[in-house]
């Protein structure tokens, strides 16, 4: 319909306005203050510290999942924690992204053999960026955020490609 052609998903109006919003989103990615284990000290606390300043990238922590864009899963997820992780992920509003920080959140890490450990958080929620390391250096976490920013910026090209196809 005429209005759909003007403002629907494949319209240039929508794509270009989303491009503007994505520019705003990627430069102010707020993560939920959710540190499970050791990676939290490096990736959340040290990375927000004065040396590896996260704030210059616009990244800041929010206490409530309802106000956050990104969930950095920093630590080992076990069966007791899995329900909480899923619930927090569901409480985050769209658009949301997940960064699996460290070996434990990616694939189970040094504790992969223990039956109580979930082999990676991507068994529970979809992950956008994986960071290897145990723990990853704060610069790695910032690099992961830069990759996430690039991923967000690529959404415009994907929408343009979907429109043209």
């Amino acid at each position: 319909m005429a209005l759909d052609k003007l403002t629907g998903e494949n319209s240039m109006l929508f794509i270009r306005s989303e491009q503007l919003f994505d520019f705003a989103r990627k430069n102010s990615l707020w993560y939920i203050a959710f540190g499970i284990a050791c990676c939290a000290i490096e990736g959340l606390m040290s990375a927000s510290g004065p040396r590896f300043d996260f704030d210059r990238m616009g990244v800041f922590f929010r206490n409530s999942p309802r106000q956050a864009d990104v969930m950095i899963v920093a630590g080992t997820v076990n069966k007791k924690m899995a329900e909480t992780v899923k619930r927090l992920y569901d409480q985050m509003p769209e658009p949301k992204w997940v960064v699996a920080m460290g070996a434990c959140a990616s694939t189970g890490g040094p504790f992969r053999e223990y039956p109580n450990v979930v082999l990676g958080v991507d068994k529970i929620i979809p992950v956008d960026v994986y960071i290897p390391g145990c723990p990853p250096r704060p610069e790695s976490v910032q690099y992961a955020f830069i990759e996430l920013q690039k991923k967000i910026a690529r959404r415009t090209e994907e929408r343009l490609a979907a429109r043209n196809s």
Binding site: G108, R112, N116, L119
Partner: protein, 149 residues
């Protein structure tokens, strides 16, 4: 540091089957499961005010409980060990030593024994349905299981 073995034997006099030996670990009093409460009460009266550590070891046939008691006033430490069968029941010592509250729950849950007389005998570390993970009979994941995750 280490108390005299004779002193500990005197404190535990009246408890049959209490064997007190001096080992690398320290001065260890081995009692039967039924005498644990009596032994700990006697040692508390002898001046060992704190329970510093409590754990269980799966020896393959039974579970060996280890209590570590310390007296700050006398600067002495003593160990009490007791065997319990798989699926047996341990009496909670929380009324004498409140520091046993959570370690007892953890040992009962991870080694598969029951806990009696505890104000809050719920599981501590794992969710319902998880088997006693510290038992030797419970295996860890194999390389293949991890690779096929």
């Amino acid at each position: 540091m280490r108390p005299e073995i004779a002193d500990i034997e005197r404190s535990l006099a009246g408890l049959f089957e209490a064997q007190v030996t001096g080992e690398l670990l320290g001065v260890v009093a081995r009692v039967s499961l039924a005498d644990v409460a009596g032994a700990l009460e006697a040692l508390k009266a002898a001046g060992y005010e704190t329970l510093i550590d409590f754990d269980g070891t799966d020896t393959g046939e039974l579970i060996e409980l280890t209590y570590r008691l310390r007296s700050y006033a006398l600067d002495l430490e003593v160990w009490v060990k007791a065997p319990v069968a798989y699926g047996g029941t341990i009496e909670s010592m929380w009324y004498e030593y409140p520091s046993a509250l959570m370690p007892e729950r953890e040992t009962a849950e991870l080694l598969g024994v029951h806990l009696a007389g505890h104000p809050n005998p719920k599981r501590l570390l794992t969710t319902d349905g998880v088997e006693p993970l510290l038992r030797k009979s419970v295996a860890i994941r194999t390389v293949e299981e991890v690779r096929d995750r």
